[in-house]
């Protein structure tokens, strides 16, 4: 072993100290802001065990201990080799918790063992990342192969679906971030785009109308075909696409005019002119056609065009056109099922949160209360903030969950835009560092795992801060390393430090 040591680099070189520095900085910022967010008449010491800052201090120390354990004691090889059993055990815990946990605001996700409470969902991010890295780093694994893709997707989907069953939609949403890992490992960018399109269609269907969604779908597909098709057909395809969309955009209006005119004529015949044969006229006979909604006219026209375009795609061996047509059909199905999903799959509180977020409903006293108060707290901070412990909004308890999910409000109120900028830049630095370190890894397991960590932190960051400033619905997930809570802090510490350990091991021997 001594012999080997000569080939090893020292701690100074092998560990990414900058990463660890950012980690510690974020944890300390969290601790200070948890202290500031406690509203009490006589401020206790930051170390006082009876308040959350004191508890967080203990969680911090234990988290640092945990980090040391992972970095210096546990063999880095363990993670890859134990990934399968750990994944299985955690999935079992995820299922178990549904049956044994108490109902906390409608969700069943907390284990309670005396004073200790933890969410298996936090740990499952780690085990899922490890198994994903392990499977995807196998020699013959190719994400572009259907079988391999489905395997990776299943690894992500199993815990995700169980967590949805626990009614922890927010935590489940984080798993969507693994798509970036798949993308990095060769998963088609088109699929990524397609997922973006699905979300866009979902939102426009809910906020505007299915008609608009389908129009957007057609617009995007024709644009893609224009760009992807042969250069000489570019203008032709673009012209046809834009023309069709423009025509269809004015259809509801034209249709309304026509309906009004025909109905007016029929009324005139029956009520004013007293034409006895009014009901036998051709106009009357065919007037029912006007009752057809423009949406169905659009669909009818589109599906009439489908076989024609299909033949074109087949003859011209235009695979992209064929795929576009398939995408169109899937998109239409999606739009029509969106309403169904919205009304029947989502739970009431989730539905109302989405409605408030999408501006379909203004409700400052109910669901919108959290977001409004959170925006007031952040907004009142101004450029430089009110100063440490000078925040009134978070301290008076106007902002709910101000030390856990809404900790960013305290940052915004007391430290202002400058504080927000610093915190967000620290996170960006953390994620960039993780990605660049991952890219430098020679072992794909390490690289993929690094990307998993970066994705998880990114999703938490985006959803949590997006929520506090009203860009995302109120989905209760913590801000990594900043939010109060041992279970969350430990989980992110382990998640990050496994990568630090893996990276150190690489640096040590290569």
């Amino acid at each position: 072993m001594i012999g080997e040591n000569t080939h090893q680099r020292g701690l100074k070189q092998s560990i990414d100290w900058k990463l660890i520095g950012v980690y510690i900085l974020l944890v300390l910022i969290g601790w200070v802001n948890i202290y500031a967010s406690i509203h009490s008449e006589d401020p206790a010491s930051i170390f006082d065990w009876s308040v959350r800052s004191g508890k967080q201090f203990v969680w911090m120390l234990t988290a640092f201990g945990l980090a040391g354990l992972i970095l210096f004691v546990l063999p880095p090889r363990l993670w890859e080799s134990a990934s399968v059993p750990m994944y299985v055990i955690v999935c079992a815990l995820l299922v178990l918790v549904i049956f044994v946990s108490k109902d906390v605001k409608g969700s069943h996700s907390w284990f309670e063992l005396g004073p200790i409470k933890f969410q298996p969902a936090e740990i499952s991010k780690i085990t899922t990342s490890l198994l994903l890295a392990s499977v995807m780093s196998r020699q013959n694994f190719k994400i572009t192969q259907w079988k391999d893709f489905l395997l990776a997707a299943a690894i992500i989907a199993v815990p995700m679906l169980i967590i949805v069953a626990e009614s922890e939609t927010g935590s489940a949403l984080v798993y969507a971030g693994f798509i970036f890992v798949l993308y990095r490992e060769g998963f088609s960018g088109w699929w990524l785009g397609l997922i973006g399109l699905v979300i866009l269609l979902f939102i426009t269907t809910l906020t505007i109308s299915p008609y608009t969604s389908i129009l957007i779908l057609i617009g995007i597909l024709t644009l893609c075909n224009a760009f992807m098709g042969p250069r000489k057909e570019f203008w032709k395809r673009l012209g046809i696409g834009v023309g069709f969309v423009a025509l269809m955009a004015v259809l509801p209006w034209l249709w309304g005019m026509l309906q009004g005119a025909v109905q007016g004529h029929l009324d005139w015949m029956e009520r004013v002119a007293w034409v006895p044969t009014a009901r036998e006229s051709q106009t009357y006979r065919w007037a029912f056609l006007l009752k057809i909604k423009p949406l169905y006219i659009l669909l009818g026209l589109s599906f009439l065009l489908l076989p024609f375009l299909g033949i074109r795609a087949f003859r011209g061996k235009d695979g992209f056109l064929g795929l576009s047509l398939a995408a169109f059909i899937v998109g239409v199905v999606l739009v029509f099922s969106t309403d169904f999903i919205f009304q029947n799959v989502l739970q009431d509180h989730q539905r109302s949160r989405i409605e408030v977020l999408l501006g379909m409903k203004e409700d400052l006293a109910g669901v919108g209360y959290n977001v409004n108060q959170s925006k007031i707290a952040i907004g009142s901070g101004g450029l430089t903030g009110k100063g440490f412990l000078q925040g009134t909004q978070t301290a008076f308890g106007f902002v709910p969950e101000q030390s856990t999910d809404f900790i960013f409000c305290t940052v915004g109120e007391e430290w202002g835009f400058v504080g927000c900028l610093v915190v967000i830049l620290l996170y960006v630095f953390l994620i960039v560092r993780l990605i660049l370190d991952a890219e430098r890894c020679r072992e794909s397991f390490n690289r993929i795992y690094g990307y998993c960590v970066a994705s998880c932190i990114f999703m938490h960051l985006f959803i949590n801060i997006g929520m506090t400033v009203g860009l995302m619905p109120v989905i209760g997930i913590p801000l990594p390393l900043l939010s109060y809570g041992g279970s969350s802090l430990w989980a992110f510490t382990v998640l990050i430090f496994i990568f630090v350990a893996l990276y150190r091991q690489e640096k040590k021997y290569f």
């Binding site: 007031i376 952040i378 009142s380 009134t392 830049l425 660049l436 997006g466």
Partner: protein, 614 residues
């Protein structure tokens, strides 16, 4: 597929997302001011300052409704710490369960309550309040509040004054922005009608809280504070002593007394019996059910809302119309053979008196037959050439010029119009051209399709006293900060020339002043030296004994008071209504009542058993 450059794309994506978040944060923190204002609102505390409600006076400066102090216990649930429930319950004279229940309720509504204080106990006794004040420091979050409540020094005019009570949600919704839960407002009577003047304006002091929820200093040095503006006092036209005396006379009787000062239209007394005592008003919450369930309906203001047949007092109107139309001259004599006989065996009966008689005597003795001739003359007037419809409509116009059949326009919001028939009424009942003057003959004596409120009758009396005009009766006087409608200063002339009134008044004088045994129906109303002029009425009541009706004014030459008395099931006009009206006149004009026996008999009479309950 090359994956080399994909991490660059991902990093660019990360940069875009971070930029979007920062842009949004920048916009709400730096660009948009409205979140800072909202934060200010969140972190200030408003301390409400309640104004003193205006006092209600009678016409002589006596206080009808004043203010006194009540003690409430308020709680700010967010400031409450764990406390000794049993000790607090003992101090406040409530059960520990009550306190627990309240605290649970506040916890449930905590978001709605926020940082506000809520009223936990209302109007506790002063001893309890003082006991609490000594130990208040032990119960953070609880505090006392001294609040003005209504005080009624004299039991006069409960129905008129109305009550004040805490507003409910429906009331708050109906007056957007004016009231908050816990405020008080006048709900009925003058308190409601003059709520805007009486309530004053609430004030507030704004304080800033620091981050430890301690009140630090006045917000912007009190620049945005507002002092409370006390409510305006209201002066009524009521004479408190007369009102109280009227209530005493009417106790245990159903009906109304309305006294008006003819020279101004000011209502001196307006008694509706059974009524509401002021001590019930003071604690309306406790008595509301009892009042609402009372079968005699004390809330119902009979003086302006009950439609009664006026009976014989209406003969004055018919007589005046006859004179105006020239179909009656005072010296015309008509016979009365125990009534007026018409058609085959039909008769409108009358009591025994001398016959034939002239107009003055007909009023004095209240002869029914005489007025049958008068009405017949009016409707058979050659001017209308046998068109009874036209004649009746003309009669209707004359009658309504006295205020009958219309809302007089007094300041009682719920005044009734009564009703006076028109040709249409009978065309509908009998068919056009199928009725004549004998069909409607009971109109001559104020029966049949005529309905009027006691206030209409008092107004008729004031009109006669004024010799041909009236002022719209009203109960509020103009005073500082309180205006009344200019219409109350305008003379309302009837369609009968003033020259005809003295002839009628003579008959009314003789009814009261001819001495016993001379046939005057109202000799009981005679008061030495006051020249009372009156007219009795005995109105049929389909629900039992006749109603006793009387109107009178005095003194004849310079009338100071005109009064109508209406006693349900009281029998002859002279039995109850006339003595009571006369006692009122004596009380008002002489200050004291000499006829103690009569007074005692009136006060003690109990007619409630005769009255059918609703």
């Amino acid at each position: 597929m090359t994956t080399d450059r994909r991490h660059i794309k991902l990093l660019i994506g990360l940069g875009v997302v971070a930029a979007v978040l920062l842009a949004k944060i920048f916009s709400i923190q730096v660009l948009d001011e409205h979140y800072k204002i909202d934060a200010d609102i969140n972190s200030t505390v408003r301390e409400m300052i309640l104004p003193t409600r205006g006092v209600i006076y009678d016409r002589n400066g006596n206080i009808l409704v004043g203010n006194k102090v009540a003690y409430d216990i308020l709680v700010n649930p967010r400031e409450v710490e764990a406390f000794d429930t049993l000790a607090l319950a003992a101090v406040l004279d409530v059960t520990p369960e009550f306190l627990r229940g309240k605290m649970d309720e506040y916890h449930r509504n905590r978001r709605k309550i926020g940082f506000q204080s809520v009223t936990m106990l209302k109007q506790i006794p002063a001893e309890t309040y003082n006991r609490f004040a000594e130990v208040q420091y032990r119960f953070p979050g609880f505090r006392g509040q001294v609040r003005g409540i209504r005080d009624y020094p004299i039991n006069a005019g409960g129905n008129l004054l109305g009550y004040v009570s805490e507003v409910n949600q429906a009331y708050i919704d109906k007056h957007p922005g004016e009231y908050r839960s816990g405020d008080y407002a006048g709900m009925t009577g003058i308190e409601a009608a003059r709520e805007k003047e009486l309530r004053g304006e609430k004030g507030y002091h704004i304080f800033l809280r620091n981050s430890h929820n301690q009140i630090e200093q006045p917000y912007k040095d009190g620049a945005f504070d507002k002092e409370a503006v006390p409510g305006h006092d209201i002066v009524t036209t009521i004479d408190a002593n007369l009102q109280q005396y009227g209530q005493e006379l009417m106790q245990n009787k159903v009906g109304a007394l309305v006294a008006i000062e003819p020279s101004t239209g000011e209502i001196l007394a307006l008694v509706s019996s059974p009524g509401i005592d002021v001590d019930q008003l003071a604690d309306i919450g406790k008595h509301y059910d009892e009042i609402a369930k009372n079968p005699y309906r004390p809330m119902y203001n009979r003086a302006v809302q009950a439609s009664y047949p006026p009976g014989s007092v209406f003969k004055l109107v018919n007589g005046l119309i006859g004179l105006e139309e020239g179909v009656l001259r005072p010296e015309m004599m008509y016979p009365c053979n125990h009534g007026y006989h018409f058609g085959a065996g039909h008769k409108l009966g009358c009591h025994g008196h001398k016959s034939p008689l002239n107009m003055e005597e007909s009023i004095m003795m209240s002869c029914n037959a005489y007025y049958c001739y008068v009405l017949k003359n009016i409707l058979d007037n050659k001017k209308f050439d046998g068109d009874y419809g036209e004649a009746l409509d003309h009669w209707h116009d004359m009658v309504t010029s006295f205020g009958f059949g219309t809302k007089l326009g007094s300041d009682f919001p719920n005044e009734f119009s009564g009703s006076i028939p028109t040709a249409k009424t009978y065309n509908r009942a009998y068919g056009k051209g199928r009725w004549n003057s004998t069909t409607v003959i009971s109109l001559s004596i104020g029966q049949g399709e005529i309905l009027a409120t006691p206030m209409h009758l008092a107004n008729l009396c004031a009109t006669v006293a004024n010799r041909g005009y009236y002022y719209i009766p009203h109960i509020i006087k103009a005073s500082e900060g309180v205006e009344i409608d200019p219409k109350y200063y305008e003379k309302q002339y009837t369609k009968v020339s003033p020259e005809h009134f003295p002839k009628v008044i003579k008959g009314m004088w003789r009814a009261c002043n001819s001495g016993a045994g001379m046939g005057g129906t109202a000799w009981v109303a005679h008061i030495d030296g006051l020249d009372v002029c009156g007219k009795t009425g005995t109105a049929q009541n389909p629900r039992g004994a006749d109603n006793s009706v009387f109107i009178c004014f005095a003194p004849m030459d310079d009338p100071k008071i005109a009064i109508a008395a209406y006693v349900e099931n009281g029998g002859f006009g002279a039995t109850y209504a006339a003595p009571m009206a006369s006692l009122m006149v004596e009380k008002y004009l002489k200050g004291e009542v000499k006829r103690e026996d009569l007074e005692k008999r009136m006060k003690e009479a109990n007619l409630m058993s005769r009255v059918k309950k609703d």
